[in-house]
């Protein structure tokens, strides 16, 4: 692959210089003098970037993925579709009940039965996806952006800046996150948006801690020092080297956080701090169904299982991201 100009002469030399018993010292000596500087560099394995288009590589990778990962992506895709186009999955309304059809058991007409006001359980689940998902996205975004910013500042500047940030983070981490979210909601007021922000702020500390440790690791690496050594300015080196190399595990944690954000938002909804009724938010569904658990167990169980499935799916994808950005 890599050949310098005199490789041909090397080949000729070793080919012709057959050592005869009494002249071996010359045979040894002569090729050696030529060999040293002209050895071709061993060929590198073919670059992966050239093995196919981006799309084709994705397909190849998907084909190798284990079935559990497939399932995880499937669950998230379905829930995402619910959020984007709920009307395509059900013809019932999520908020308007049908009189005389209260608390029906699951049937062909109402797949997941109806609640105390005669609203279709399945429709409420489908229409609720957008509230839970957008809330979780917002929560993760708040945590990711603020946390990464604080972590990068702490890890790259060091000194008293790091001390101040990281001790604050320690304090935040010592408060149970639900309690923290509740306190923030009490300041901000009730509502889906505020619940999401509250959950996000509660996760800033763990994002900041992870990011800082990654930044500190990358900052100590030779290539960052080499970048400074070749005249790089602080900001440029941070942007070109430190940030991209620190973010892999932070992204994996964001996927994990997505699952727990859904859980936290549902918890807040369940406790009545989130979306007000009649919003079909998942936590609220569980809370409302709880009153009828002895007569209509499916009202609270099915939304609960959906939350479990989404959280597990997010965890599974996060694990795959940690392992090899699958």
């Amino acid at each position: 692959m890599t050949t310098t100009s005199s490789t041909a002469s090397l080949g000729a030399f070793t080919g012709t210089a057959q050592p005869t018993p009494h002249r071996f010292e010359r045979a040894v000596a002569a090729p050696a003098a030529v060999v040293v500087p002209t050895v071709p560099i061993p060929a590198a394995p073919p670059p992966r970037a050239h093995s196919g288009t981006w799309g084709r590589r994705l397909v190849q990778r998907a084909r190798r993925a284990p079935i559990s990962l497939w399932l995880a992506w499937g669950v998230l895709a379905l829930v995402a579709l619910w959020a984007v186009a709920p009307g395509a999955f059900t013809s019932y309304s999520a908020t308007v009940g049908v009189a005389g059809q209260q608390l029906q058991a699951p049937s062909a007409a109402h797949w997941l039965g109806t609640d105390a006001l005669g609203r279709d359980g399945y429709a409420r689940l489908v229409f609720g996806a957008v509230h839970s998902l957008s809330g979780a996205f917002l929560a993760v975004a708040v945590g990711l952006v603020l946390g990464t910013l604080l972590g990068v500042l702490a890890g790259s500047i060091g000194g008293w800046v790091e001390d101040v940030i990281m001790r604050t983070v320690d304090v935040l981490l010592s408060v149970p996150s639900l309690l923290l979210s509740l306190s923030i909601i009490i300041i901000l007021g009730f509502g889906t948006l505020n619940a999401a922000v509250a959950v996000g702020v509660a996760s800033v500390a763990s994002f900041a801690r992870l990011t800082r440790s990654e930044v500190v690791r990358v900052r100590r690496s030779d290539y960052v020092e080499a970048a400074f050594g070749s005249g790089g300015r602080f900001g440029a080196v941070l942007w070109r080297h430190v940030l991209p190399n620190s973010l892999t595990s932070v992204i994996a944690m964001a996927a994990l956080q997505f699952g727990s954000a859904i859980l936290s938002i549902s918890t807040l909804g369940f406790l009545g701090y989130g979306a007000p009724p009649p919003t079909p938010e998942w936590g609220l569904l569980i809370a409302e169904g709880r009153n009828y658990i002895s007569t209509a167990w499916w009202l609270t169980t099915v939304p609960g299982l959906v939350v479990v499935a989404v959280v597990l799916a997010a965890n599974r994808i996060s694990a795959a991201l940690t392992k090899g950005r699958a």
Binding site: T2, R26, V28, P31, V36, I41, D222, G232, H241
Partner: protein, 572 residues
Amino acid sequence: MTTIAQAVAPPPVLEVENLSITYRDKDHEQRVVHGVSFAIAPGEVVALVGESGSGKTTTAQALIGLLADNGRVEHGAIRLNGTDVAGWSPDRFDSVRGRVVSLIPQDPTSSLNPVRTVGEQVGEILKIHRYGDRQAIARRVVDLLAKVGLSQPELRARQYPHELSGGMKQRVLIAIAIALQPALIIADEPTSALDVTVQRRILDLIDELRSEFGTAVLLVTHDLGVAADRANRLVVLQGGRIQEQGDTASVLRNPHSAYTRKLLADAPSRSQGAFRPARAAAANDTPERPEDFAIVVDGLVHDFDVAGRKEPFRAVDGVSFRVRRGTTHAIVGESGSGKTTTIRDVVGFRQPTAGRIVIEGTDLTTLRGEALRQFRRTVQLVYQNPFSSLDPRQTIFQIIEEPLLNFEPLPAAERARRVHDILARVGLPPAVLERRPRALSGGQRQRVAIARALVLQPRVLVLDEAVSALDVTVQAQILALLETLQRDLGLTYLFISHDLAVVRQIADTVSVLQAGRQVDAGRVEDVFLRPGSDYTRELIAAIPGKKNHHHDPIDTHTTHLRQAPGVFQQAA
């Protein structure tokens, strides 16, 4: 003599016959060892020599049943004392491991359990194989530690690994390996992580123990110098195939395969007596003018504060040297000698406590902030490890281009042109520009690192053990490249190394550091032939690969022949 010995000798301790090993990688299998056969007689030292990727470690792992989970012995036989163990399960191997065959691992720092005392770890193998009751084991542990040459063995047995130096840890691992007096010891690069003087003592120890117990030793090494010194027979591996095997002396004198010849030519420790030819600029008789020197270091002192102690630790203590423009100065010393601290001061990463560093007429110690950043174009550093000094997320083009972005803006086309130019200079094809570092070999990466350092057209290049992490063949290529670049671009090199053999090949002048002090300095030839300190003498004596030279006039002769045109003058 060997043939007679073999004819009457007892059956071999180890017989490997047509051994093939494959690794399973996701959905396909790759064979890495192809039909390897060799044997080791009792009390014999056989060296398995090859570059990284030659399959030598895989072979050694198979012999002791420690192949990685995805590795598999495809076919062939491994007979230990006549019993074929090739297909054995790991559990079954437990009975022979330690008792019949044992291993001295490569890296002493990571091979001991940090939370258990040395005595417990040596005693563990005795306990597993039911050596005796607790007192008997404790007594045997102290005996063993004394046997491997550790002072105060009772104290050592109670110490934890972090209280021991690297050489002492390797001795502990040897004590574990010989605890049950196995018939065969596999030493996998036992000294690669150690300083040269420690390396010599450890190899001497293995040799003594071998002659005392009659244990056979399989020495796995990439260092032909070590193999030549220590082994009775050599097995040369390349790409999982045996290229050559036979008596050490006859292989060295009359290598049959082209690959062995190349290894011999590339091993710096085997080129005896040849110094770098003096150049006009370096000749000592021209009068000294201050403007002749690219680097002047004067009375350099560097202290580090130690937590909990009033007295700072003095890492560098009054080091002074000057380097003429266009020549190479080497700094030699073992780990902890202050050589890394010295060059980090020279490159401007740290401010020294005292002393003056003048590079190309600029006093570095007065520079701060933006002035220091601008100065970085003058002096560039190449790191020891090309695997950690390149950002894994950048393409090669981005890596080489980056320094250009840090200074006055250049149009993209101009930057691309300079990157292509420098890439051609370091002997890499343009195809690598699109790749990322992981798709390149170690030698190619080091070329990229050199290209990145040179793209700013510096006057001084500081090389921190820049070839130590590379195989001998690749090392020889990189050294040749450096030589060409120095000649073409008039560069001044500051070359840090623990390997005196390399220093002898490429440096004009040298400073020998010990514990932060400069114990010897001057022209390489003077320092090597008339060392001024005991420490330098010890360092020179510790260079491996001498044994077979002194008894072998023919070999010396060939070396001279090879050296006559000068290894580097051939680099085109």
